[in-house]
C-alpha cells in the first residue's frame, strides 16, 4: 500500500483493507500518535463537504501532520479557470499526499495519474468514496465482531446511493445476505444484482422493510431525496414510508446496529438516537480512526 493512491475500494485487496481495519483499531485505542511530524498534506475540496473534510483534517492533526488546501473551489484559483491538472501539478510540488474531493467523476483517478505523490479520493461525484466504505466496514466488524455471514438490510435510495453500492461490493467478499428495501423508482441497479448472482450471494428485494427488521444484523439507512424522482407525486407518497422510528425497533435483534452515512434528513426519527441500536454518530467518529489508518499506511508509517 505504501505510496499507492486510494481512489476506489477495488484498488485494495481484501487482505489490504482488512489490514487498514486492524490499524484503525490501534488508532482507536491510541489516537494521538506523532507519526506525521514534518509531513505536509493537502486537502483539496473542489466541492464543499464539511463533514468529510473535518474528518480527514482531524485524522491528519491527530497524527501530528500539517495541512494546506481549500474548502471549496470558489476560494481557489479553480474559479479563474485553472485546470485540475495544473492545480494538482502545482500542489504536488509542496506536499507529501493529496486528499481531494471533486464534483466530476474520475477526477481523483486522473489526479493520481499525473502526480507521483499518493492521492486519496474523498469523493468524486457519484462515483467513489473509499474511506466511507472502509469506515462502514470498520463499524460493522466492530459492532458484530465479524464481517462474515451477516444479514444486511439496506433501506432508501438504492439506485443513486454511492455508499450502498460500494458497501455491497466490499461486503460481497464475506458471504452476506442482503435485503434491498426501496421505492420502485430507486431500486438497486441490475448491474449490482447480476454481480451478486454471479457470486451466488443471496438477496431479497422489497418495498416494505417491517417484515425484515427481525432478521437484520445491520440496518443501513440512506436519504431518499426529492430531486431523484421524475414525478413529485411519487416522492410525496414515499417520503414518510422509509423512516425508522424507535417504536419499530422492538422486533429487531438486540445486537442490531443502525448505520447511516450522514447527514440525515428525516429518515431516522430523532427518537431513535438514544436507543443503543443507533450507531451512526459513533460510525462518524470511527471515520477518523479509519482515515488515520489510511494515511499512515499509504505514507509507510505503519
Amino acid at each position: 500500500m505504501v505510496n499507492r493512491s486510494l481512489i476506489s475500494i477495488t484498488d485494495y485487496s481484501k487482505e489490504e483493507y482488512l489490514r487498514i481495519l486492524d490499524l484503525a483499531a490501534e488508532f482507536e485505542k491510541n489516537p494521538n500518535q506523532n507519526l506525521l511530524t514534518n509531513k505536509l498534506i493537502a486537502t483539496l475540496f473542489f466541492e464543499p463537504s464539511t463533514r468529510t473534510r473535518l474528518s480527514f483534517e482531524t485524522a491528519v492533526q491527530r497524527l501530528g501532520g500539517r495541512i494546506i488546501g481549500f474548502a471549496d473551489a470558489s476560494s481557489s484559483s479553480v474559479t479563474k479557470g485553472e485546470t485540475l491538472k495544473d492545480t494538482i501539478k502545482m500542489v504536488s510540488n509542496y506536499v507529501d499526499m493529496i486528499i481531494m474531493r471533486h464534483p466530476m467523476e474520475g477526477a481523483a483517478r486522473y489526479a493520481s495519474e499525473i502526480t507521483n505523490i499518493p492521492v486519496v479520493n474523498a469523493g468524486d461525484g457519484a462515483n467513489q468514496h473509499p474511506s466511507q466504505t472502509l469506515l462502514d466496514l470498520y463499524s460493522i466488524r466492530k459492532t458484530q465482531g465479524r464481517l462474515d455471514g451477516l444479514n444486511i438490510l439496506m433501506i432508501g435510495d438504492l439506485k443513486y446511493g454511492r455508499t450502498v453500492h460500494s458497501l455491497l461490493m466490499a461486503m460481497s467478499d464475506f458471504n452476506p445476505t442482503f435485503y434491498f428495501i426501496s421505492p420502485s423508482e430507486l431500486q438497486m441497479p441490475s448491474g449490482y444484482k447480476m454481480l451478486l448472482d454471479r457470486q451466488g450471494i443471496r438477496y431479497v428485494e422489497d418495498r416494505d422493510f417491517l417484515p425484515f427488521l427481525p432478521k437484520a444484523d445491520i440496518i443501513y439507512m440512506t436519504r431518499v431525496q426529492k430531486e431523484r424522482f421524475s414525478d413529485p407525486f411519487e416522492y410525496e407518497k414515499v417520503k414518510n414510508v422509509y423512516v425508522l422510528k424507535n417504536a419499530l425497533l422492538d422486533s429487531c435483534k438486540d445486537t442490531v446496529k443502525i448505520l447511516h452515512p450522514l447527514p440525515r434528513v428525516n429518515e431516522i426519527d430523532p427518537d431513535v438516537d438514544e436507543n443503543p441500536k443507533a450507531y451512526y454518530f459513533t460510525q462518524a467518529l470511527n471515520g477518523v480512526y479509519v482515515r488515520q489508518a489510511i494515511i499512515a499506511s499509504i505514507l509507510g508509517l505503519k
Partner: protein, 154 residues
C-alpha cells in the same frame, strides 16, 4: 457501364486494402478511426449495399495503402464483422478479420457520462475491455460500464 446495369461496379485496385462487411451506419466512424481523410490515396466508398449478413453494408477500398493490425483492430468497436482483403498486383494475397483490442482502448471512445472528468478536461480517454463478445467496456476514470450500443467514437 451501361445504364441498365443494376450492379455497383467498382474498379479493382492493383495494390491496397479492401474493407468489407462494415455496417452501413458505421462507415463514417470507420473513416474517422482510420483517419482516411488524411490520406492522399485513391479511395472508393460504397454504402447502403445489400448484404445477407448485415442487411445493409458498406465497403471501403484504399489504393496503395496497408494498415497495421493495431490500427485495423480499432474498427472492431464499430464493425466487428469487418473482413479485410489485402491486395497485391490485383490478387487477394491475404484475408483478415478484425479483433477487439485485448484489454485496453485508448483515445477512441468518448465517455457517455456527462459528469466524467474526461468530458471536462483535455484527457485521452481510456477504457478497460470487460467482455469482447458483447463489447462491454469500463471507463478508467468515472468507472461507468457501457456496451456496444452506448459506444460513441471520438
Amino acid at each position: 457501364m451501361k445504364g441498365d446495369d443494376k450492379h455497383l461496379v467498382v474498379n479493382a485496385i492493383e495494390n491496397g486494402t479492401v474493407i468489407d462487411h462494415i455496417p452501413s451506419t458505421s462507415l463514417f466512424a470507420v473513416i474517422s478511426i482510420l483517419q482516411l481523410e488524411k490520406l492522399n490515396s485513391q479511395m472508393t466508398f460504397g454504402v447502403n449495399l445489400e448484404s445477407k449478413k448485415l442487411g445493409s453494408k458498406a465497403i471501403i477500398k484504399v489504393a496503395g495503402k496497408y494498415f497495421e493490425n493495431s490500427e485495423l483492430n480499432k474498427i472492431a468497436l464499430v464493425a466487428p464483422q469487418a473482413k479485410l482483403n489485402i491486395i497485391r498486383n490485383y490478387q487477394v494475397v491475404e484475408k483478415r478479420v478484425v479483433e477487439i483490442p485485448e484489454d485496453e482502448i485508448s483515445g477512441i471512445i468518448k465517455c457517455p457520462n456527462p459528469v466524467c472528468i474526461t468530458n471536462h478536461e483535455k484527457i485521452t480517454t481510456k477504457f478497460h475491455v470487460l467482455s469482447r463478445s458483447d463489447m462491454t467496456v469500463r471507463c478508467n476514470y468515472c468507472e461507468k460500464v457501457i456496451n456496444r450500443t452506448q459506444i460513441e467514437i471520438l
